[in-house]
């Protein structure tokens, strides 16, 4: 049972973890904390209170447990991808060849690290929200908003060398935060489900960016399709080796900042407390409403930075086409990164490169004649499998029980 399940859905109207009838019936229904289920045979279900206490003291057994919880969905994803490939007439070995080629190929490796940066950032957006009990799926919209701000400041404002890049990053972060602010308001004052609002904002953001690229930011010198004006050289991330830029440093800096924020500041402690049990947090004096709004701002800033990375760091062209192909899908993939990383910023940092490798391997699959969509199915199945760890746990327990009953020691008869 990982941290992933522990964050219940945050409701700002005081109904977290306690439904009136159940309380009236004398049973608490808190998701975390005191979970008393209907006693059948006098057996209290696994109580999760101990797990929050354990979070401060990670023992080695915990790491193994967490790792095994990640392994099962990944294996299922591999199995699904292999099934798709085999059905399409390929061989399972193609799966491994494609991944191997992706990371050993110089261009593939550079592209992986470059994509991994943006993925790590969008993952932080989801993680910060999730740790507070909020399902923030708006990373894609905030990313687009950050891209709009980045192009505006990067391509159209002539600023001196040192300041320009900083200004671009700052503008993108502010735009991303401002983008998700309406979502935060709706959630705080109307208790509107943030999943719906963030997804709507994602669509609005996509069309807004397309509109800007095709009309406001249009590069009139190019007539082979609509592209935005390229970012000025002073506003770009310095290139290491195309397509890799120094933006990849952000893939390390931002997760570390998020980690420090969540585990070593009071603000972060409040966030995690709200995630575990919002009612208890409110009782402890934490302003849950303000907190819920601020995680949207923080997540939006992270995703906006991702948008900046994908425009001011989009070497070698540093411009966006009207189909936004370079920016698509980073939101949902960021969620998959977050889950594979067990909703931990540093775990997401590692997972982002894995998922980026999967994404980059599309080219390898295409070269081998396999449909590149197999990567989407892989990621989708992995996310899907993360939804039901209980099935894997009970399967493992069942296997263990069978083994014990077959090959158990004689004294147990």
């Amino acid at each position: 049972m990982g941290h992933q399940e522990d964050a219940g859905h945050l409701r700002l109207d005081g109904r977290n973890g306690a439904s009136r009838q159940a309380v009236a019936a004398g049973r608490g229904t808190g998701r975390i904390g005191a979970r008393c289920s209907i006693r059948r045979g006098g057996q209290l279900r696994r109580d999760r209170v101990h797990h929050s206490a354990m979070s401060a003291t990670h023992s080695r057994g915990d790491w193994l447990h967490e790792a095994s919880l990640v392994a099962a969905p990944l294996l299922l994803g591999f199995a699904a991808a292999a099934a798709v490939i085999v059905v399409n007439g390929g061989s399972i070995g193609m799966l491994f060849t494609a991944f191997y080629n992706t990371v050993t190929n110089r261009n593939g490796l550079l592209q992986t690290v470059a994509s991994g940066t943006a993925l790590a950032l969008t993952a932080q957006c989801f993680i910060i929200g999730f740790r507070c009990g909020v399902f923030n799926i708006g990373a894609e919209g905030a990313l687009f908003a950050g891209a709009i701000a980045a192009i505006q400041v990067g391509a159209f404002w002539p600023l001196p060398q040192g300041i320009h890049l900083a200004a671009v990053m700052l503008a993108a972060m502010l735009a991303g935060a401002a983008w998700l602010y309406p979502v935060a308001l709706l959630k705080t004052y109307r208790n509107v489900n943030e999943i719906v609002t963030t997804i709507m904002m994602n669509f609005i953001g996509r069309y807004l960016l397309a509109f800007f690229v095709m009309w406001v930011f249009r590069d009139t010198k190019v007539d082979t399709g609509a592209f935005s004006v390229p970012i000025r050289p002073t506003g770009r991330f310095p290139v290491i080796a195309s397509p890799l830029t120094w933006a990849c440093l952000l893939a390390v800096v931002v997760p570390v900042v998020a980690y420090v924020l969540l585990w070593h500041t009071r603000f972060g402690a409040h966030i995690r407390a709200t995630g575990y049990n919002a009612d208890a947090a409110r009782g402890a004096g934490i302003d849950v409403r303000r907190l819920g709004a601020m995680v949207f701002l923080a997540g939006g800033a992270a995703a906006g930075l991702a948008g900046c990375v994908l425009t001011a760091g989009l070497s070698p062209t540093f411009k966006v086409g009207e189909d936004l192909s370079a920016l698509r899908n980073f939101g949902l993939l960021g969620i998959s990164v977050a889950m594979i990383g067990r909703n931990h910023p540093l775990g997401a940092m590692l997972a982002s490169f894995f998922v980026a490798a999967v994404r980059t391997s599309r080219f390898q699959f295409q070269k081998m004649g396999v449909a590149p969509e197999v990567t989407e199915i892989f990621i989708g199945v992995v996310i899907f499998a993360f939804a039901f760890p209980y099935v894997f746990q009970s399967a493992a327990t069942w296997i263990k029980a069978i083994r014990r009953s077959r090959w158990g020691s004689e004294e147990h008869g």
Binding site: Q4, E5, H9, R15, S19, Q21, A25, R27, T29, R31, S37, I38, R40, Q43, R45, V84, N88, F135, I137, P182, L186, R190, N191, V192, N193, I195, V196, T197, I199, M200, M201, F203, I204, Y207, A210, F211, M214, W215, R218, A226, E322, L332, M339, A371, E373, V374, T375, E376, I377, I379, G380, V382, I383, F384, F386, A387, F388, P389, Y390, V391
Partner: protein, 334 residues
């Protein structure tokens, strides 16, 4: 007014808003375009409304299926495949409903017996569905983006009037709404569903198998979502694309969040969304908008339905929007 329930108040306000919208259109554009837009609006409302009504049944039972967007795209794909294989649009719709039922069944199993997180499972479902549709397009027909039905006879029959195409299917939403109302309020199964959603603990203790009831409710939701996808592919678009539903599944969820599982409210707001989509489509073809559209204003018009969702959610008075146990997992102890 004080004695009216919150539901009644919201229904009246919504009805007034719809009438005001239609009146405004009439004044601005004249009666003929208004009727055209209204009919187009009902057509656009059908997939959203069907999925929303299915999800009402599902959420009354206590499960939240975010994956209805995924169900719609996969059902759209299956319906086109079935239409080409069998030549009958009705068999195609049945195939789509079966697909929706199957996917919803898997989801329901995971959410009940599998004790899984419904939101994450729904998200995963959406991703897998997109991959499956893209893969299906490539494998089955070899076209990587979309596939249009070549034969018009494979599409549901429609009559072409001066106001645009008309089809009996446009009434589907209302039929489904009536059936859902009947199921939920006049049958014993409907009572079980509502009980499972409101308080699964007591319901289960009283001997009603909450898991089974929830699975059945979820499957009904999946069937309607599959029908919505089939309508989208067969009637509305005439083909299947990689992203055939364009977020309509989520608009259906927005309808439910807005309408708090109340069928008239959900229908009304679905109609408003359909109307805005119709206006956007109609404006794209209007002569005075040509310049705006070709220069990229197209995207702006496409934004309108989604903006409407957010505005609607922001403006209307809030009240208990979802049943208390929504999204919270109910897992039986050993």
């Amino acid at each position: 007014m004080a004695s009216l329930s919150a539901y009644a108040k919201n229904r009246i306000i919504l009805a007034a808003v719809i009438l005001a919208l239609l009146a405004g259109l009439d004044v601005a554009l004249g009666p003929t375009p208004t009727i055209t837009i209204t009919i187009l609006g009902i057509a656009a409302m059908t997939p959203i409304g069907l999925a929303a009504i299915g999800e009402i049944v599902n959420e009354r039972g206590g499960l939240v299926n975010i994956g209805i967007e995924g169900i719609m795209v996969v059902a759209g794909l299956t319906s086109i495949m079935a239409a080409e294989a069998s030549g009958s649009p009705y068999l195609a719709m049945l195939a789509a409903m079966a697909t929706g039922a199957a996917i919803a069944f898997v989801f329901a199993l995971i959410a009940t017996y599998g004790r899984g997180s419904q939101i994450i499972a729904g998200l995963g479902l959406n991703l897998v569905a997109l991959g499956v549709v893209a893969l299906g397009l490539l494998d089955y027909w070899g076209t990587p983006g979309f596939h249009m039905l070549a034969d018009d006879s494979e599409r549901p029959p429609r009559i072409f009037t001066a106001y645009g195409p008309l089809s009996w299917l446009y009434l589907l939403t209302f039929v489904a709404a009536f059936l859902a109302w009947f199921l939920l309020s006049q049958t014993r199964f409907g009572m079980h569903v509502t009980a499972s959603g409101n308080n699964p603990f007591v319901t289960d203790a009283n001997g009603i198998d909450v898991y089974r009831v929830r699975i059945k409710a979820c499957v009904i939701g999946g069937v309607l979502a599959g029908l919505a996808g089939a309508f989208l592919a067969l009637d509305y678009l005439g083909g299947v694309t990689k992203d055939v539903s364009q977020g309509r599944g989520f608009m259906a969820l927005a309808c439910i969040v807005f309408g708090a599982l109340d069928i008239p409210l959900v229908l009304g707001i679905a109609f408003v969304f359909g109307l805005t989509e119709a206006i956007a489509l109609w404006a794209q073809n209007a002569p005075w908008a040509k310049e705006f559209v070709t220069a990229g204003g197209n995207s702006f018009l496409l934004m309108i339905p989604y903006l409407t969702v957010i505005v609607a959610l922001a403006l209307f008075p809030g009240f208990e929007r979802l049943s208390r146990m929504i999204g919270e997992n109910y897992w039986r102890s050993q």
